[in-house]
Symmetry: C2
Subunit: 414 residues, 2 copies
Amino acid sequence: MAFNPNDLAAVSLHRQQFSVLKGKQYFNYGGQGPMADSAIAALSQAQQNIQTEGPFSSRAYEWVKAQGTQVRGAIAQALGTTPEAITLTENVTVGCNIPLWGLPWQSGDHILMGDCEHPGVVAAVAELSRRYELDVSTCALADTRNEISADKGANKGPVALIQQNLRPNTRLVIISHILWNTGQVLPMKEIVSVCHRNAPHTRVLVDAAQSAGSLPLDQSGWRLPETKVDYYAFTGHKWWCGPAGIGALYVRPEVLAETAPTFIGWRGIEMDDAGNPTGWKPDGQRFEVATSDYPLWSALQQAMKVQAEWGTSGQRYERICRLSERLWEGLRAIPKVTCLLTAAPPPSGLVSFQLIGDRAQPSPDLHNALVQQLEAQQIYVRTLLSPHCVRACVHYLTLESEVDALVEKVRAFV
Amino acid sequence: MAFNPNDLAAVSLHRQQFSVLKGKQYFNYGGQGPMADSAIAALSQAQQNIQTEGPFSSRAYEWVKAQGTQVRGAIAQALGTTPEAITLTENVTVGCNIPLWGLPWQSGDHILMGDCEHPGVVAAVAELSRRYELDVSTCALADTRNEISADKGANKGPVALIQQNLRPNTRLVIISHILWNTGQVLPMKEIVSVCHRNAPHTRVLVDAAQSAGSLPLDQSGWRLPETKVDYYAFTGHKWWCGPAGIGALYVRPEVLAETAPTFIGWRGIEMDDAGNPTGWKPDGQRFEVATSDYPLWSALQQAMKVQAEWGTSGQRYERICRLSERLWEGLRAIPKVTCLLTAAPPPSGLVSFQLIGDRAQPSPDLHNALVQQLEAQQIYVRTLLSPHCVRACVHYLTLESEVDALVEKVRAFV
C-alpha cells in the first residue's frame, strides 16, 4: 500500500512519539522544533554512555568519533551529498560565519545580500566589511514575494533581481533558501547559476535555517551538489526537531581549498607525532574547532530517524505545503487579517500574517497581544519585526485540526 | 568545627554523588572531569523543561535567559570578577580564538607564545599570522620547569624568559596558566605585569584549560581583576566536572572596546524595533553568537554547586596539591620512571612522567602500552605527545588509595 501523506490516523500515531506536543498547539517549528521522546532519551543515553566509558578514555573517544561519522553521514544523505562536504557547527550562524571570514577578501570586493537575512548575519557582514573595506549592497527580495509565475514555486522575480544587482567584483551573494519572514522559497539553483555565470569568483552562501529538514533536499533537482550552491548553513533544532546546539555547514568541494578556517582548534587540524600542526583536515572537519556537547550528535541522528519513519522527504514536504495552504486560506478569509503572501500560499511551512488595526495599518500591538494571548492557552506562534507580523509554522507533524483551531482563535481575536 | 580538606571520610561521602566514578580509578581530570549525578540530572531536567515550556516560547526564553544570568554569575564569582566580563563559549579554544581574531592587527605585529600551548591554539596563531603578516616567536617555558625559587610555586624563571622575549611591537603574549604537559603553574600576575610594562599595546591571553576549577581564582591574589590578565579562556568540563560543550572567556573590561567580535550572531548584538543591528551588547555577551545547547548552562551551575559543597576553592586546591605530591613522590621512587618535574612536586593536579626504555630514553611505546593496559583495568590516564609522556591528574575528588594503587600499578608495569 502506498504511503499516504494525508492519512490523519498515521500522523496522529506518529505524533505519539512527541510527548511534549501533548496539550499544545505548536506553530513555532521555524523557531525550534519539539524533540521526540526517543531523541530526548538519546541525549541522556549518550551522556551517560560517555560518562560511564570515560569520560576521557579511548573507548569514549572511539564511541564519540563513531557518532560523529554517523551524524555527518545522516546529514549528508539528507542533502544528497557526501560526509566530506559537511562541517558540524553549533548553529546556523556559525555556519554562515565560517565562509564569511574564510574567503580571501580584497579591499573593494562586493557582497550582495537579500533584504530578508537574519540580523545576526547582517551584523557579521557589517563587521566583515568594516575590517576588509568591502562594499555591501542589499536587494529587495521581499518585494518579489507576490510575483508568482505559472510554474508553482518557481518564482522568477528573485533571479532577475539578483542578476541585476551583481557586479563584476561581486565576491559573495548571501540569500536564504526559505525567507524566514515571508515563507518564500527562492529558486536556489537558478540564483546560483546566474551568480556563477557573473564572474569566476562569485560565490553563494545560503542561510538554510528554514529549509534543512523541510525541503526535500535529498530528491532529484533539490540535492545540494545539483544546485552547485557553494555554502549552505543550517541547524538541526528547527525542522529536523533535533536538540538546540547542533547545526552544520555544507561546503561545495570545489570551493573548500579557497575557504580558510578562521576559528581553529584541534578538531580541524592534522598533527605530527610530536603534536605539531601540519595542515588542515582534508574535508569539512577542518572548520570544526574543539570539544562540543557530543551527545547532541546522537540525539540529532535519532531525531532524523524518527522523521524518516514518516514517508519520504518529498511526502513530508507535500504535507507541509498542504497544511500551509489550509492555514493560509483560513487566515486570508478573516477580515482584518492579511497574509504576507497574497498571490499564492507559501511553498513552505511558514505562514506570516498581519492584523490590521487603526488607519488600516498592520498593528504591532495587536500582533504582540495575539501571541501573548495564544501562548497563555498553550498555542505557540511568534511575532517577527520586519515586516512586523505574526508567523505560524506548520510541520508535517501538524494536525489539520490544529490549523483549523488556530484560524478560529485568530478570527475570535480580531 | 573547621573543615578539614584531608578528611578522607568526608571525601568518600562527597564522592558518592559521582556514580560514574564507581569501579574506576580516574586520573583524566585534565582531559574531562566526571559529572556528578545531579549535574547529569540537571541536563535532562533543563532539556525537559525547555521542551515542555516551548520549546520556542516566551516562557522557555525567559527561563533560558535566567539560566544564562545565573551561570555567568557563578563563573564570574569563581574568578573573582563580575558577570559583565564573561562570555559564554563552546570550549576553551573558541575562547582563545575570540581575542586572536578580534584584536586590531597591523602587519608586522609580534605575537609571543609559550612552547607548551595547545596545538589548536598554535594552528590558529599560524593562520592568523599568515593572514595579517604577523611575526610569531616562541619561548621555551618548558625548560624553566625545574627552576624553583624558595617561594613555593612562584617560579621566577618564566617571568624573566618572557621579559627577554618581548619586543616593542609585541601585541599579544599567549601562555597557559597551568602548562598542560608539565603541570607548572605560571606566575600569571607577574607575567602580565612585565607584559603591560613592555608597551601600552601589549596584551596577555591565557589558556586556562587546566586552571579554571583547580586554582583558587576567587581568593585574594588569584582573582582575575587583581592579576590584570586581559583574556582568560577556559572550559567547564575539566576541573569543574561540568558537561562538555560549555566554556567561557573573561575579557578585562579595559580591553573590551578594542576587541572586535568576529564570529557574530543575534546573541551579541543590539537591535532596533525593526530588527536592524544597532551595535554590540555592552558586555562580554557581544562575543556570543547564536543558539546553543542551553541545558549545559544549568548543568555547569549544578557541577559548580557540588564542588562548592566541599570546602573553599583554596581547600580544594590544597588537597589537589597534597595528592599530586603523594603521586609524584610515589612515582619518582620507581626505578625507570622519571617525572617531568624533578625539583619539586607539581603545584597543580597534573603529574606527568616518562618510562625509561632502551638506551635510557623515554619510550613512547611503553607509555602507550601502559595507558592501554591501565584502561583495560578501568584505570584512566593518558599520553601526551610533547614531550612524550604519561599524564595522571589528581582532583580533590581523588582518593589517597587511588593514588597509591596507581603507583603500584606503574611499579608493576615497569
